[in-house]
């Protein structure tokens, strides 16, 4: 499979509103702030990653974007709709996949996909399932109970469910977690091809740095419930003087180094940094160009 390049679909309609726009997003559980004052936007037609260590707030953020979790403060717009007031106008054209949220085990793959086809109001459920089954190489699994699948098969089935409605905005929580390198690579290739073919916006949380480098136009790095840094993968590498995103991630996770002087944005203009970190600041973060 050829190595993909960052997507270019965003150039289709330059005036399109952001696929995701988040402002002051905060989630507190009692005295604990899981996510604190996130502000960012994701341009339409881009693939954006949310990176961060365990407990950084990635899953909390994705859950709030989907409306599964209500924020304590802040605003979220997805596909132009206010997700706190009119999320059901956006949901028909959004979807989600996570290895941590199962499909009913007792139902066969076909039955699960049929149920979700009806939930998303597909015109031709059988045809769409057949199409996706061929695309994702799961046709031979359609009559198997979902609970009897391997991790890689489950991931492909979950992806089929997530693509049933041809989503304009697809949120993915660790899309290749627990997969062997071959299957993970296949999934990444498929997602990249899907994005390029449809112009959909992909927003994914991941621990896999190679995945992020390969798939994403922009990266948000979270730490302690805040956006610590952001930028295109190549920009982040240059800014931190590192060869891989994994090294950048480790630098940030371990408070080891700071961005090189003179690289990337000036610190004073790089908002939303942890105030306790050298060079940190606070303020809104935006991926919008």
């Amino acid at each position: 499979m050829s190595q993909p390049t960052p997507s270019s679909a965003a150039t289709d309609t330059i005036d399109a509103p952001p696929a995701i726009a988040v402002e002051g997003l905060t989630k507190r559980y009692g005295p604990v702030t899981a996510v604190g004052g996130l502000t960012f936007s994701v341009p339409s037609g881009r693939t954006v990653a949310l990176l961060g260590g365990n407990g950084a707030g990635k899953t909390t953020t994705i859950s709030m974007l989907l409306g599964l979790l209500l924020p304590t403060e802040g605003r979220i717009r997805a596909l132009g709709f206010d997700m706190l007031k009119e999320r059901h106008r956006a949901l028909p054209r959004m979807n989600f996949s996570s290895p941590y949220v199962d499909l009913p085990h007792r139902l066969t793959v076909r039955q699960n996909l049929m149920v979700y086809s009806h939930l998303y109001g597909l015109r031709d459920p059988k045809g769409r399932i057949r199409e996706l089954a061929e695309d994702l190489d799961i046709a031979h699994l359609l009559n198997r109970p979902s609970g009897k699948l391997s991790a890689g098969q489950k991931t492909r089935v979950a992806l089929a469910k997530a693509l049933l409605n041809d989503p304009a905005l697809l949120l993915l929580d660790e899309p290749t977690a627990s997969l062997d390198p071959d299957t993970g690579d296949w999934i990444r290739g498929y997602l990249n091809a899907y994005q390029r073919r449809t112009g959909a916006t992909l927003f994914l949380a991941s621990h896999n740095m190679q995945e992020v480098e390969r798939l994403c136009d922009d990266v948000l790095i979270m730490k302690g419930g805040r956006v610590h840094d952001r930028g295109a993968p190549a920009d982040l590498l240059a800014r931190y003087g590192r060869g891989t995103l994994e090294d950048v991630f480790l630098d940030i996770a371990r408070d080891r180094t700071r961005p090189l002087e003179g690289e990337g944005q000036p610190r004073a203009e790089r908002p939303d940094r942890d105030p306790e970190l050298p060079g940190g600041g606070s303020g809104p973060e935006s991926l919008s160009e």
Binding site: T11, A19, L68, V101, P104, R106, T108, Y116, Y120, G199
Partner: protein, 294 residues
């Protein structure tokens, strides 16, 4: 490029949406869509169809109850003038009590199926509304109740020559009112399980028994101590079972009792639905939709 086109996402430019839906979707109401309700009914029907033991289990307990109370009835007919006066009063009581029991359990289990399968996260990022889920699990409760009760009623005809369908149209009102009260309990139990996790799931089986002594299933409400009678009359089953006895003993359908049952059910079902929906919002605040373990 028109103003409207300027707000299309790149994806939408390639696949222009129609009334907010992609071209491969049928536009439908975002407020309430029967197709989404039926999708969840379909999901539970798949589960039932795939497991013969589950189907058997639905009919097992009502049948065992019916056989037991059939023998008790046979005994009391010759030892109790009260039972002798209306042969089917105990059997009708036990069969109708099972309607309420199955109504509650059918709803609670359908809801817990989603928690057991950790499916709530997927369901509620789809266009499904919480009250559409409520409508679908009520539908499933009806289906489960019918599947569970009908074999027992038919066997009662065979074993004891007691035909509950002989009650005629009043039976429909008794069935409907008890089913709805079962939903009330089921919704409250489901709300508790959603809020406190699957550790509370045994409530689905045991909570309803607290209503048994106050329902007047096998005896008139005036058998209860005076101070307890108002409590019994504050709940739907008292009206239904008194109404059942009025039909069996006097051959009279008591519209006053029917009206009381309907009024209470409207009140309780509305309140229970609100409690469930409020709990759903609480679950969204606490992140419980993705964390559905014990």
């Amino acid at each position: 490029m028109s103003q409207e086109d300027r707000h299309l996402m790149p994806h939408d430019v390639r696949h222009p949406p129609e009334r907010g839906f992609s071209p491969i979707q049928t536009p439908q109401s975002v407020a309430f869509a029967p197709r989404r309700v039926l999708a969840i009914v379909l999901r539970h029907t798949y589960v039932l169809k795939s497991s013969f033991p589950r189907l058997l289990e639905l009919a097992y307990w009502p049948t065992v109850q019916m056989v037991l109370w059939g023998f008790i009835t046979t005994f009391f007919v010759s030892h109790s003038s009260w039972v002798a006066e209306a042969f089917g009063v105990l059997l009708a009581g036990v069969l109708l009590w099972d309607v309420m029991f199955r109504g509650n359990l059918g709803l609670s289990i359908s809801f817990m199926e989603e928690m057991w399968s950790r499916n709530l996260g997927h369901l509620f990022v789809s266009p499904l509304r919480p009250y559409e889920l409520v409508a679908s699990i009520m539908t499933m409760s009806f289906i489960r109740t019918v599947v569970g009760i009908v074999p027992a009623t038919l066997l009662a005809i065979v074993f004891y020559e007691f035909n509950i369908y002989g009650l005629g149209l009043p039976l429909v009102t008794f069935f409907a009112n008890l089913l709805v009260f079962g939903w009330v309990i089921g919704l409250l139990v489901s709300a508790m399980i959603l809020r406190f996790g699957l550790g509370a799931e045994s409530l689905a089986w045991v909570a309803i028994f607290a209503f048994g002594p106050l329902s007047g299933i096998y005896y008139p409400i005036d058998t209860l101590p005076g101070w307890l009678q108002p409590v019994a009359w504050a709940m739907t089953p008292a009206y239904v079972f008194e109404g059942m006895r009025a039909v069996l003993f006097d051959g009279v359908f008591r519209w006053d009792l029917f009206g009381g049952a309907v009024a209470l059910n409207v009140l309780y079902l509305g309140a229970a639905t609100l409690v469930f929906l409020r709990t759903f919002t609480t679950a969204r605040k606490l992140g419980l939709l993705l964390d559905v373990g014990e």
